[in-house]
């Protein structure tokens, strides 16, 4: 504290801020805030999931009771005996894999160019992919659907693939671009120097070093696409039904609660993979990369 500050009476707001700060610090010290946050978050975040997990294994759960009266797995068989589910689940996996693959094929060369080549407008073009986030998403889907409607792409596989590809671009370009930029050129030069051909340098030096980032991009793209419901709903119906789209009808028009719960649980598997890798994904900054941050 300077003498000057002691001499001049502080503005009223000063008291407010230092007060808030101090109170924050005391809160943190006493863990009061943390405890309240923990309890509230646990209730609000885990509560809904608690219901889903228990419903998936419930034979009978009558109000009021904290847990089902009868546990059992009989609904699992019935769920997967349904033709629509048995068809949509493998289809969704193949579709997500296809979209991821196409996205990789068109985006990875582009990201290499963005990272390693010099051309006019490079920075601007790279930033232009932010446009995929800059529209109200559903409005954009409607706008695309209107064009697809005229091109007879509604209810077709190419239509669904195209609309899902749009969502993958930012992630599949920005993460690899940053990764390629992160590879020190002298590491590649050193490999050239000991006699490796440019292709071998790329395969044996550059690629292994960007591999963690590339796998993260591929995994995130696959998972995001697998869960993408809105674009597939607008463009895919009535003939193309992905698993998430099927969920809409399971939720809206099914009297048997267990179907939705079981499908939710099964559908959650890809997210579980992300959750297991969460620390690594967070450290690499990959989880927010899809937002351009």
């Amino acid at each position: 504290m300077s003498a000057q500050q002691l001499a001049v009476p502080p503005p009223p707001i000063d008291g407010f801020w230092s007060g808030t700060r101090r109170s924050f610090q005391t809160m943190i010290r006493r863990n009061g805030f943390g405890l309240i946050a923990l309890v509230l978050l646990a209730l609000v975040i885990l509560g809904p999931l608690y219901s889903v997990v228990l419903w998936a294994f419930a034979e009978r759960w009558q109000y009021p009771s904290l847990i089902p009266q009868v546990f059992g797995l009989s609904f699992w068989e019935r769920t997967f005996a349904r033709a629509d589910i048995a068809e949509a689940l493998p289809f969704s996996i193949v579709l997500a894999a296809t979209v991821t693959l196409i996205s990789a094929v068109i985006c990875l060369p582009a990201s290499y160019a963005f990272a390693r080549m010099k051309f006019r407008g490079r920075q601007l073009l790279l930033l232009s992919f932010l446009a995929t986030n800059a529209f109200p998403r559903f409005g954009l889907y409607i706008s695309i659907a209107v064009i697809f409607f005229r091109l007879n792409l509604i209810g077709t596989l190419p239509g669904v693939i195209l609309i899902q590809l749009v969502n993958t671009l930012l992630l599949m370009i920005w993460i690899p671009t940053a990764a390629f930029q992160g590879v020190d050129r002298s590491l590649e030069e050193a490999a050239l120097d000991v006699g490796a051909s440019p292709l071998r340098v790329f395969v044996q030096i550059t690629l292994p070093m960007v591999m963690p980032a590339l796998s993260a991009a591929l995994l995130l793209t696959f998972v995001n696409t697998f869960y993408e419901a809105q674009g597939a709903l607008v463009v895919g119906l009535p003939r193309i039904v992905t698993m998430p789209v099927l969920m809409y009808s399971l939720i809206n028009s099914q009297l048997i609660v267990q179907y939705g719960a079981i499908v939710s649980l099964v559908l959650w598997a890809p997210s579980l993979i992300l959750l297991i890798l969460a620390q690594r994904l967070l450290r690499g900054g990959y989880l927010t990369a899809g937002f351009g941050v």
Binding site: A190, D193, V194, G195, A196, R200
Partner: protein, 361 residues
Amino acid sequence: MAILDLVRLDKHFGSVAAVSDVAFTVSDGEFMCILGPSGCGKSTLLRMIAGFETPTGGDIRIDGDSIVALGANRRPTAMVFQKYTLWPHMKVFDNIGFGLQLRRLPRAEIKRKVEESLALVSLSGYEERYPAQLSGGQQQRVALARALVLEPKILLLDEPFSSLDAILRVRLREELHRIQRRLNITAIFVTHDQEEALTLADRIAVMNSGRIEQIAAPADIYANPASLFVADFIGAMNLLEGEASGRQVRLGAVALPTPDGIAARQVTVAIRPEDLVVLDGPHPEAWSCAVEQISDLGHYRRAVLEVPQLPPMKIYLPKSLSVQERAALHVYPRRYLIYENGGAPREVSRPLPAAAAALLG
């Protein structure tokens, strides 16, 4: 056996000349240092030899054959880079063995060569480590081993020790010197550190603004810097500008004799601190000056002198001479070089004045 010839080598980036008209020969087993301030083009020159830059003019020959058309991966050169450039995803063994694997050597042979080269850099037993598990100095040794294992005709080193701390730098420098002598390999070493160049090199090429200023043995460069730039860049030097007239140049209170044939009026006189001798009394060719500052450097002392009408001068004082700051001294230049604009220097070396027999320097 490897002789490197650089023939009128040029490199332009757009309109900027990074290297211009560089020509010299490095003979077999010679250790050549390219010395210059940052941005003088020395790294570009080395990168052209390695094949990472394409010259815009001239030729590079190894044992008489031009290698300019060859890619970096086909040249018989090997480079040690400035930063640690070990591949982080490969163990030390694979880092060193990578080039050998590319050459499809048998496994046993690769193993033997890797072990040999690790022994050469005193890192036996480190094969299974990853680069991240090594210290900076160890990483640079592995990089050296990686370059040497391919038995290159020419070893190129681009400021390999600049990211290490001072003590380690000296140790690795000595080790490099020993290895180079033992293998008798032709080596080119780029540095901005004159001490490094002076201790390592058989010959030094001093570069400035893309051109070679001088190529000579370290002692020669030190004694006879060919240009004002070299005089200023290598070692400590007092540079005094003065006007020459009638076989004399006036520098403050003293007129120093000049040799025949000095045509220019404006000349620069360069005097090494060790060529300034302290006399016991005034002398017409000695400056009378005051000691401004003394720093003790262990076995000798360095003083900065305040000379009337001239810039401050550096001088070395033996420990036996007890001089305090602010004391008055008379210093006499025993040897100096006179530079006219752009030309080679003229040396003046003379005996000590007979009148002042009792010398203290």
